[in-house]
Each structure stands twice: as structure tokens, then as C-alpha cells.
């Protein structure tokens, strides 16, 4: 059952839809843009589809748009198109059925309003059956929309529920708290989904708090006047002021300094900021989105994060992004998505383009196929073939770096497949680039496989690493922040500890925190680091 808003100056459609297409719930009719905007605001993202009439015989003061050569009546007769333009600006991906046929509308008007997610009736004289079918088709297509710009939603129930929840939270005034392991796409969601759907016209501003030194954190967020601290040579607006009217995304919010926590609490309570060194309050209207890979509640319990601030961050409505390993149902679609995204990168797209040109293939299309062989060539397009064994390796991988790691692996896989063909043409089909299992295996190392193999070797020798002697070997690949380096180091440290204590979390807790009582805490952290007991048990034999 879908929630449908009817925007119509008359009761016709509402009456008929309720009677003849009773499987959905209807709101309205909203008789003007003002009423439609109010209804959508009240619905808080719950509306799935809008039925929008075109002709609104309503008083001039209720109309939106400008009266043209065709006078007031002209504006009334195309009022639906004016409303459509406003809907598109505020709700870019909300499906709208214009209750008229395409041929009855001056197409330039609709083009201006944006045609994506805009549908027309097949026939101006609509009947229940055809409208019912059209609504069903649109809703089904929407369900099947597994990606959105750079965001891959997939089909898993957890992601569908999460998407629905974010749709509602984006429109609200309360902060949105995003939880989940590193690399699960929290920042993408904040920028490309929450901000886009918040209806806010101000800027999107992102601050990664793991990269801001403690002593500069307050100034970065709330601004500072000249001379407020050593090095403050000029007045400076903070992130809150810059994001006024828009969205402020604070990544790794667990890193907030104690002072900044106190000030943030004040901003959330009063909606004003005071720059360091000033007493003047400045009003700010900011949609706050915060993210962390840490267990904030745990940090509160440890006294590292203010409980009152935590409660202000709307933890009851927190959105937890699942690790990639829990989304294996979508792996094949994710591969296609990942390849498409990778092909936007200049180097790879250039390489693939050159390859296509050299082999008489289309530059603008690339198919991703999973299987032992690519289908017979019907068109001059390039196919990136992932043999089953390669896919099995991808499925078996635990993806501690989640989507970020996946994107790198896919991009590299495509890159190496092209490079191999350029260096050593197989002499067979030039239109098929195979991502061989060996390439995938190499790409999935050195982490965590490398760490696990190192641990395995230690276990085989029955010699746990002499940690107290400082002999822990950590293998690191380049990371994009110090925080991630620290996390990776911590993860490998946990692997070694696990091996050393034969999977006994109580003993690990004694080693780490001096108290076996903290075993649960250690296990939680173990999980947060993307480690799986199942995999480790195999390692222990």
C-alpha cells in the first residue's frame, strides 16, 4: 500500500481513487501549492507518489507563478506545471503523475520543471484501470531503484528500511546520528541523500573531526574573533555559520573535544553560536548530521562523551549502516555499480576508452557479467567478466574497509584486467576482459588476509607474538586519515591478541584493560573493527 497525495482543486480524483483504487491511502486534495507544501511537510517523507492536476480554477491569491500573455486564466490552466516546478525543487525524486496526457502539455514547460520522476497519463481521459496500472508500475520501478547517484542502496531489507527512515529524518529538524563501521558510506549519505532531501537551500558543510586538532576544534566549528587564540589573525566564521540554512555534517563526532562538546550542546539547545573571543550570539539554522564508527553510548559510559549532548543527538532515531559483509545479497549488482562508478575516474575511463577504440568497441558502454564465459557478442561493447571463482572470493571476503575497500578493489580489478589485455592480448575475444581469481586474491590482500596469514603462521609455530616485547608486526597500506591508520593498527593488534589468548575475550580484557569483567566490551570492540569470531575460529583450528 502506498501513500498518495492528490493535488487538485476539485474532489474528483480523490473520490474516484478512494473508490476504484482502494489499495492505497490517499491524502488531500491539496487545492493549491501552499496546501500541497503543507501536506508534504506534515507527511514528513511518507508520501510515495503525487497525483497532480494541471488546471486549477482557484483565486489569484492562491496561484503560484507569473501571469503571462494568456492572462490569469492561462496561469490557472497551467498551474499544475508551476506546482510541478516547485515540487521538483523541493522533492527532486518524488514521483509525480501529471493528470494529463503528454501531448496536451507544452513540452518546454515540463522540460523547465524537470522530467525525471514526472509521468503523464497515457490518455487525457483516464479511467481507473489504466491509472491503477500506471501507479503500480511507478511504485514497482521505484522499489527497483537500487542506486541513487553515488549511493548504492541495494535490495536488502535492512537497506530498504534504512532508506525509508532517512527519508523521514532528512526532513525533520532533529539531528541525524549515523552509526556504522568505517567505509559504509555515512558521509555519502549525509551529502547526497540527507542534505538533498532536507529541503534546505543553504550549503552542505562537512567537517571530519578526526583531522581537526583539539585546540582548533571550537574555532573550526563555532568561529573565532581576531586574537581569540594564538594564530587567530582575523575574524573567522565557523562551520555552523557557514552551514546556516543548510546541513552540517560532523564526521567522527566521538572525537569532539570536551570544550567543543559543551559548546555544541549549547548550540543545539539555543540555536545560536558565539565565536571564540566574542560574546555576541549569532542565530543559526542548521540541519546537523553526525556520524561515528564508535559506540557513542559506550563512550558516554566511559565518561568520554557528555551524556546530555548524546541525548541531544537524537540517539533513539540513530541510523546504523550495516557492514558490507552483511549485504552479500547485493554483491553482483554492487559489482555493476562499482564498475560504473570506477569508470567515472579519469585514468580508468581513459584507459578503457583507448582500449575500446583500438578494438573497434563502443566507448560509452561496458557490460559486467558474472559467469564462466561472456555471452556471444551481439554488439561491439566491452564486457568485464567476473568468473564465478572470482566472485566467490569476493563473497568470502570480510570487507573490513566496507564500501570504500570494495570500490578500490573493483577499480583495481578493472584496471588490471585492461592492463593485462593491453600487455598480453589473449588472442581470443578482445571484447571480453576477465577479472581472474588470482587478480582478485591479490587485491584482497594484504588486509586482512595478510594479518590473518601472519597470525596463522604464529599459531602454527605455537608461538604467540611477544607483544610485551614490542614485537608486533603491523602491515599497513596507505590510509586516508590518521584515524584510519590507528583503527587498522588496533584491528591487527586485536587479531594477535585473539590468537595469543585462543579466543578467550576475558583474557584479552585482562591484557587490554586489566579486568576480565570487560570481556563484553572487548568483544564489542572486536566486532566494531570488522573482525568475525567465525573467521578467527577457523584460524585457531
Amino acid at each position: 500500500m502506498a501513500e498518495i497525495l492528490i493535488v487538485d482543486d476539485q474532489d474528483h480524483y480523490l473520490d474516484l481513487c478512494r473508490r476504484a483504487i482502494s489499495e492505497h491511502r490517499y491524502r488531500g486534495p491539496a487545492r493549491s501549492w501552499r496546501e500541497a507544501a503543507e501536506a508534504l511537510g506534515r507527511a514528513r517523507g511518507a508520501v510515495d507518489l503525487v497525483l497532480l492536476d494541471v488546471h486549477f480554477a482557484i483565486p489569484a491569491e492562491e496561484l503560484v507563478g507569473t501571469v503571462g500573455d494568456d492572462g490569469l486564466e492561462g496561469l490557472q490552466r497551467r498551474q499544475g506545471l508551476e506546482i510541478l516546478a516547485l515540487l521538483r525543487a523541493r522533492y527532486p525524486d518524488l514521483p509525480v503523475i501529471l493528470m494529463t496526457s503528454r501531448e496536451d502539455v507544452v513540452l518546454e514547460d515540463v522540460a523547465a520543471a524537470g522530467q525525471e520522476y514526472t509521468y503523464f497519463l497515457d490518455d487525457d481521459y483516464v479511467d481507473a484501470r489504466s491509472l491503477q496500472a500506471q501507479i503500480a508500475n511507478i511504485l514497482a520501478a521505484r522499489e527497483g531503484d537500487i542506486s541513487e547517484g553515488p549511493i548504492f542502496w541495494g535490495r536488502s531489507l535492512v537497506m530498504r528500511q534504512l532508506r525509508q527512515r532517512l527519508k523521514v529524518l532528512a526532513l525533520g529538524r532533529l539531528p541525524v546520528l549515523l552509526l556504522g563501521p568505517t567505509g559504509t558510506g555515512k558521509s555519502l549519505l549525509a551529502r547526497h541523500h540527507i542534505h538533498q532531501r532536507s529541503g534546505r537551500r543553504g550549503q552542505f558543510v562537512a567537517v571530519d573531526l578526526s583531522t581537526v586538532p583539539n585546540e582548533l576544534m571550537s574555532a573550526t566549528l563555532f568561529g573565532a574573533s581576531r586574537g581569540a587564540y594564538t594564530g587567530a589573525t582575523a575574524d573567522r566564521a565557523g562551520a555552523f555559520e557557514t552551514a546556516d540554512g543548510g546541513t552540517l555534517f560532523l564526521d567522527e563526532v566521538g572525537n569532539l573535544s570536551a570544550d567543543a562538546q559543551k559548546m555544541l550542546l549549547s548550540v543545539l539547545q539555543e540555536s545560536v553560536v558565539v565565536r571564540l573571543g566574542e560574546v555576541r550570539e549569532r542565530s543559526v539554522d542548521v540541519k546537523l548530521v553526525v556520524a561515528t564508527h564508535e559506540d557513542l553510548a559506550e563512550r558516554v559510559a566511559q565518561g568520554l562523551f557528555r551524556a546530555d549532548l548524546y541525548m541531544r543527538l537524537n540517539p533513539a532515531a540513530a541510523v546504523r549502516l550495516p557492514p558490507l559483509a552483511e549485504r552479500s545479497i547485493d554483491l553482483v549488482q554492487l559489482l555493476e555499480f562499482g564498475v560504473a562508478q570506477a569508470l567515472r575516474r579519469p585514468y580508468l575511463s581513459g584507459l578503457v576508452g583507448d582500449y575500446c577504440e583500438r578494438n573497434g568497441l563502443r566507448r560509452d558502454a561496458l557490460d559486467v557479467v558474472v559467469g564462466e564465459a561472456a555471452p556471444a557478442r551481439r554488439q561491439p561493447t566491452l564486457t568485464l567478466l567476473f568468473p564465478e571463482r572470482s566472485v566467490r572470493l569476493l563473497r568470502a571476503h570480510t570487507w573490513p574497509g566496507n564500501l570504500r575497500e570494495f570500490a578500490m578493489v573493483v577499480e583495481n580489478a578493472a584496471l588490471f584486467a585492461v592492463s593485462e589485455m593491453l600487455a598480453l592480448p589473449s588472442g581470443e575475444r578482445a571484447d571480453v576482459l576477465a577479472v581472474r581469481p588470482k587478480v582478485v586474491r591479490d587485491l584482497l590482500g594484504p588486509l586482512p588476509a595478510e594479518a590473518l596469514r601472519a597470525a596463522e603462521r604464529s599459531a602454527e609455530r605455537a608461538e604467540a607474538p611477544a607483544l610485551d616485547a614490542g614485537q608486533l608486526v603491523v602491515t599497513l597500506s596507505p590510509q586516508d586519515s590518521l584515524n584510519k591508520v590507528a583503527q587498522e593498527t588496533e584491528r591487527q593488534y586485536f587479531v594477535h591478541l585473539y590468537i595469543e589468548h585462543r579466543g578467550d575475550f576475558a583474557k584479552m580484557a585482562i591484557a587490554l584493560l586489566g579486568d576480565a569483567e570487560h570481556a563484553r566490551k572487548v568483544q564489542l570492540r572486536f566486532n566494531q573493527l570488522g573482525l568475525k569470531v567465525r573467521d578467527m575460529k577457523e584460524l585457531l583450528g
Binding site: H12, Y125, V126, D127, A128
Partner: protein, 148 residues
């Protein structure tokens, strides 16, 4: 028959578009949604609404004859199309089709105004309304100005 002046042709096309919407769409709006096995009361109620309350606006409710009357005057040259310009399209078969269907419907409209109607009158009304609707569609197609 059709004026050579492009502005006048545009005006006629716009008028036909309005007629198709205001009369052609709404004269059979509710009856078109009826299920095949809809009971008599439901059919009569839908027809009554379509013919006697065809359009609603700030100035009140208009029945099908009100809506047709103003357009008819323009198409038959009895009222100006734009300013002082009058054109008559009386010879257009699509226009005559609408006019005749509306005349035939007047009996049904009177019967509906007088009170409850029997199934035969309602069926005649539903068919007649569909004929007007289809005629308006054909007229609009005929008068449509192809844009470059």
C-alpha cells in the same frame, strides 16, 4: 474554412484544447471509472455528477450545457474568437458531431433535473456523454497546430 492567419489558428487550437479539457474530460469523468457491473444507483449518481456538475470553480458549478454553450458560440461564429474576430467552423464534421451529441443529451439532462431516472435513460446518458467526450477529442486533434 480554417482561417489562414496563424494567430487565429493558434487561438482556435487553444479554444479546442480548453473544450477538450473542460467538457470532453469532465462530461464522462466519473462514468468512465464505473465498473462494468456497477449498480444502477451508482451509474445514475456518476452520470448526474458528470452532466449537472461538470465544472466547479470560484464562480460556482456549471453543467455540461453551460460549458458547451460558451464554446459553441465561439466555434459557430456567434461570439468573437479574439477581440472582434469571428470565425465559423460549422462545417467541420468533428464540431457537428459534438453539437449533435450535446443536443441529444439535452433530453437526458432534463430528465436528470426532473428526478430519478430509469436504467434506459442512464445508459443513453452514459453513451451520449462518451460521444461528446470522443467528439471533443477528435475536434482538438483536428484543430491542433503543429509546432515547429
Amino acid at each position: 474554412m480554417l482561417p489562414a492567419d496563424s494567430a487565429q489558428r493558434e487561438a482556435i487550437a487553444a479554444h479546442a484544447r480548453r473544450l477538450k479539457h473542460d467538457l470532453g474530460k469532465y462530461i464522462a469523468f466519473r462514468t468512465r471509472w464505473l465498473a462494468g457491473d456497477a449498480p444502477h444507483e451508482e451509474r445514475e449518481q456518476a452520470l448526474r455528477a458528470d452532466l449537472l456538475a461538470t465544472r466547479r470553480g470560484p464562480s460556482g458549478v456549471s453543467d455540461a450545457q453551460d460549458v458547451w454553450r460558451s464554446s459553441r458560440a465561439v466555434f459557430f461564429g456567434e461570439a468573437p474568437l479574439v477581440r472582434d474576430v469571428r470565425v465559423s467552423l460549422a462545417e467541420l464534421p468533428e464540431l457537428r458531431r459534438v453539437d449533435q451529441a450535446m443536443s441529444a443529451l439535452s433530453v437526458v439532462i432534463e430528465a436528470l433535473r426532473a428526478g430519478p431516472c430509469d436504467a434506459a435513460v442512464v445508459s443513453q446518458g452514459i453513451l451520449g456523454a462518451r460521444e461528446v467526450s470522443d467528439g471533443c477529442h477528435a475536434l482538438e486533434q483536428r484543430l491542433r497546430v503543429t509546432r515547429a
